[in-house]
Amino acid sequence: MLALLWIELNKIYRRPRTYIAFGAMAAIVWLIQLALYFDGQAYVDLLLSNLSGSFEFSDLFKSHLLNGYLICFVILNTLLIQMPLLVALVAGDAIAGEAAQGTLRFQLTRPITRAQLIGVKFAAAVVYVISLLLWLAILALLGSVLLFGINDLVVLRSTGIEQMQMDDVFWRYLAAFCFAAVALTTVAALSLLLSVLADNPIGPIISTMSVVIVFTILSEMNIPLYDTTVKPWLFTTHMVAWKGFFYVQADAEGTTIRGSIENLPAVFRSLGILLGYIVLFLGAAIYIFRRKDILT
């Protein structure tokens, strides 16, 4: 199995297309960093415009606010919506790409079960997801920290502000990146399922993108009844649960409790739902693939 995984990884990482994702991510991250490096004050002013009636903000405050941790949060907010699309580029190609090239039937002549083949393809997609996230961590977290330094992290929510001390932030990013790995693996599993259903990689890649975009829009909508029935079960609702690590508990006087998470059970619940989706998508992929006539 390890040898098979190695072959699959070789296939993924030898394809120039794979590096489009790495290049696109680098370009987006650098552009955001560049923009904030030269015009960060304007961005901070925009962020604080809603608060200027209650608080006064000195230049020192603004320069402290615009630190590497905040920049990384901004980048993750932007990129973790787009990254599923980059994951779909590889995972959607896993089976359908082989079918399109006519190598799938040949692959199945090996002494492995179809379930094992799907398992190996999925494992390779997971490795790809992790490598993408490591790349993002290097660019967004390490790069921003080197460029902007560190300070307390201030996270703006729609109805409140969370502030964490600088030595209480790094572990939250580690946890967030681990969570993001699970969230993106869900997309990889979905893409693999759609890949099993197609004989051309374009279909599963575009279908995955469409599902993620439509479901993300649905996750952001607030409609009575739907809010409590459908929305809590959409996987895209839970893909943003990495932010839960940046929502802190406070005591009765509003003082942040160091090392706390506002609602850890909710984050675990989201993790459980995403893992459930991974099992569902992967199970469905194996079920369908085992019964599929392989004609190419």
Partner: protein, 227 residues
């Protein structure tokens, strides 16, 4: 005889024999006038309904006549608008002076309640009420209503620097404006707690508490601090 005793006791309780308000305010003011500038370290606790913030170490700088700056030199602290009013000498800054209205003593604390009405009709301060501990010659509590920034309330606890009229602990209450950002911008994760704990979006009272640890009085404060 009975009538005279009754009259005397009435005069005593109604403050007729108490120090006149103007003298009391003058004695408070003279204490504050001894401070031309100061730098102080402090621990600041912020309590605003929509904000969760850690306790911060801050530096407070003051320079006459009306420069006050609270700085968190290493981290981030949300400083309320109008924090300049944390310094008591701001009350007496109006060059046109003010009229006094003596409201007698607070029955619980015994502090004298004096209202200060600025004579200048353009003054930023509309009305101030101070609660003066006459025995110590210190302002214990104040409430100031301004034209632009609403009403501020201050509560002071004194210690080692009482002779300068400088408090060891100040609780500053202020009106905080509403806070709300569109969900489409923040892409919040709905963990189910937001609805319970966060701001309703309506204005409310905020509170900042500063516990001073040491003062450097009249040692000079550079102007660059206030820029």
């Amino acid at each position: 005889m009975k009538t005279i005793l009754l009259l005397l006791s009435f005069c005593w309780t109604s403050g007729v024999f108490a120090q006149p308000a103007a003298d009391l305010v003058r004695s408070v003011q003279s204490k504050l006038d001894r401070v031309a500038n100061y730098a102080a370290s402090g621990r600041m606790k912020t309590n605003v309904i929509f904000l969760k913030a850690p306790i911060a170490r801050v530096q407070v700088y003051f320079k006459k006549p009306n420069q006050l700056r609270i700085l968190n030199e290493k981290g981030i602290s949300f400083i309320p608008r109008g924090s300049m009013n944390m310094d008591m000498s701001q009350l007496f800054i109006d060059p046109a002076g003010f009229d006094l209205l003596d409201l007698g003593s607070d029955p619980k604390t015994g502090w004298r309640i004096i209202k200060l009405l600025p004579r200048d009709p353009q003054s930023e301060v509309v009305l101030s009420t101070i609660y003066v501990d006459a025995a110590a010659g210190l302002i214990r509590r104040s409430s100031t209503t301004t034209r632009e920034n609403g009403t501020f309330e201050l509560e002071m606890t004194y210690g080692a620097y009482a002779e300068y009229g400088l408090a060891d602990k100040v609780i500053f209450s202020f009106n905080s404006q509403e806070y709300k950002l569109p969900k489409g911008i923040t892409f919040d994760y709905d963990d189910g707690t937001g609805k319970r704990s966060a701001s309703s979006g309506k204005p409310s009272k905020g509170r900042v508490e500063i516990q001073y640890t040491n003062y450097q009085i009249n040692k000079g404060v550079p102007d660059s601090v206030f820029r």
